[in-house]
């Protein structure tokens, strides 16, 4: 088991784990549109499948928030 930080909170995960795996694990909303930073570096969407997380990584999921209602 390894510890990573997701959106500011500790999360225990089993490595190896890619960003795509983490998205599924956390039931992320807007999986096709979410933006991800790992250790404050932006990760390209094309690399989500291959990006492998390691112990202590800090992951931030950033969502589109367009507005309240129509």
């Amino acid at each position: 088991m390894a510890n990573i930080i997701v959106n500011g909170k500790n999360q225990e995960v089993t490595l190896p784990l890619t960003l795509v795996d983490l998205i599924k694990l956390n039931n992320i909303l807007q999986p096709d549109m979410v933006s991800i930073q790992v250790n404050e570096e932006f990760v390209e969407r094309s690399e989500f499948e291959t990006f492998s997380l390691k112990e202590g990584d800090q992951v931030d999921f950033l969502y589109f928030m367009g507005g309240g209602a129509f």
């Binding site: 500011g8 096709d32 507005g67 309240g68 209602a69």
Partner: protein, 274 residues
């Protein structure tokens, strides 16, 4: 120098008393020109607080009329305003709060062919809009024109905001383009707790005032996000990226774009009211 009337000294006394503002800060607020895009959920609290603060000139861009469903959160409009143009209703409220504010109404929608022209007259822009295409338009126009702005978005119970000044991270540094038109939340999800608009809009108003008075640190290179369900507030560090399609080393976005607007039953119902 610092030519304030007795009435102004009284009106702005709670600003002047602050060590970090004083008459010097109030003078800067009075000289400021702010454009608010959208007289809706976010634009409403922004406009009201900036009017109360004594911002010299407030421009408002909105082509819509007030709808009954707006009143749940767009507190600048009241029941008798239903059916009126939002900019007219907003102007009236602003003047009632503070008659010395100069209000310029732009009864129009911000588009690629008018954005640069409209923003040119202002020192700071506030994004109070509710759709992605225009959020990217505001970002792009402000970055191109070197105008600082406040980005804001809310959805359901959450909100997020950051402030841009030339050289800091822009919207495209994090989200390189708008989501495809078909990927918007379905209408059943397109709700928002009214007070969330107040929570975020007021933060945007505070950032605007901080910009002019120089107080504290702006939310530049930071995304402030909150979840009102838990009242968790977080700041995520952002960076200006070399690969950003707009402000990076090799920009691919070189002109303003009118992206396709999302359609949804609620939106087209609103569109048919015009």
């Amino acid at each position: 120098m610092y030519d304030f009337t007795e009435e102004e000294l009284n009106r702005y006394s709670r600003h002047i008393l602050l060590k970090d503002v004083g008459v010097e800060g109030q003078e800067r607020i009075r000289a400021a020109k702010v454009l608010i895009v959208g007289a809706g959920g976010l634009g409403a609290p922004v406009a009201m607080y900036l009017a109360a603060a004594g911002i010299g000139k407030i421009g408002i861009v909105d082509g819509d009329v007030v709808d009954l469903s707006n009143l749940q959160r767009q507190i600048i409009h009241t029941t008798p305003d239903v059916g009126r143009y939002k900019v007219e209703s907003a102007k009236e409220t602003i003047q009632a709060i503070n008659p010395s504010v100069e209000v310029v109404t732009h009864r129009d929608f911000l588009m690629a062919n008018n954005a640069l022209d409209i923003i040119s007259d202002y020192d700071f822009v506030v994004d109070g809009t509710d759709n992605f295409p225009v959020k990217f338009l505001i970002n792009d126009a402000c970055v191109m024109a070197g105008k600082p702005f406040s980005h804001g978005g809310i959805l359901r119970f959450e909100g997020q905001t950051f402030t841009y000044v030339p050289g800091s991270a822009c919207y495209r540094c994090t989200f390189d383009g708008p989501p495809p038109a078909g990927a918007v939340p379905t209408c059943s999800q397109a709700g928002v707790l009214g007070a969330i608009a107040g929570m975020l809009g007021t933060i945007q108003a505070a950032e605007t005032l901080k910009y002019f008075t120089g107080v504290g640190e702006l939310l530049t290179n930071k995304l402030l996000t909150f979840n009102a369900k838990t009242m968790d507030f977080r700041k995520i560090n952002l960076k200006r990226h070399d690969r950003c399609p707009l402000c990076g080393k090799n920009p691919t976005v070189t002109h303003l774009i009118d992206y396709e607007q999302a359609t949804c039953d609620l939106a087209s119902h609103k569109a048919s009211n015009k």
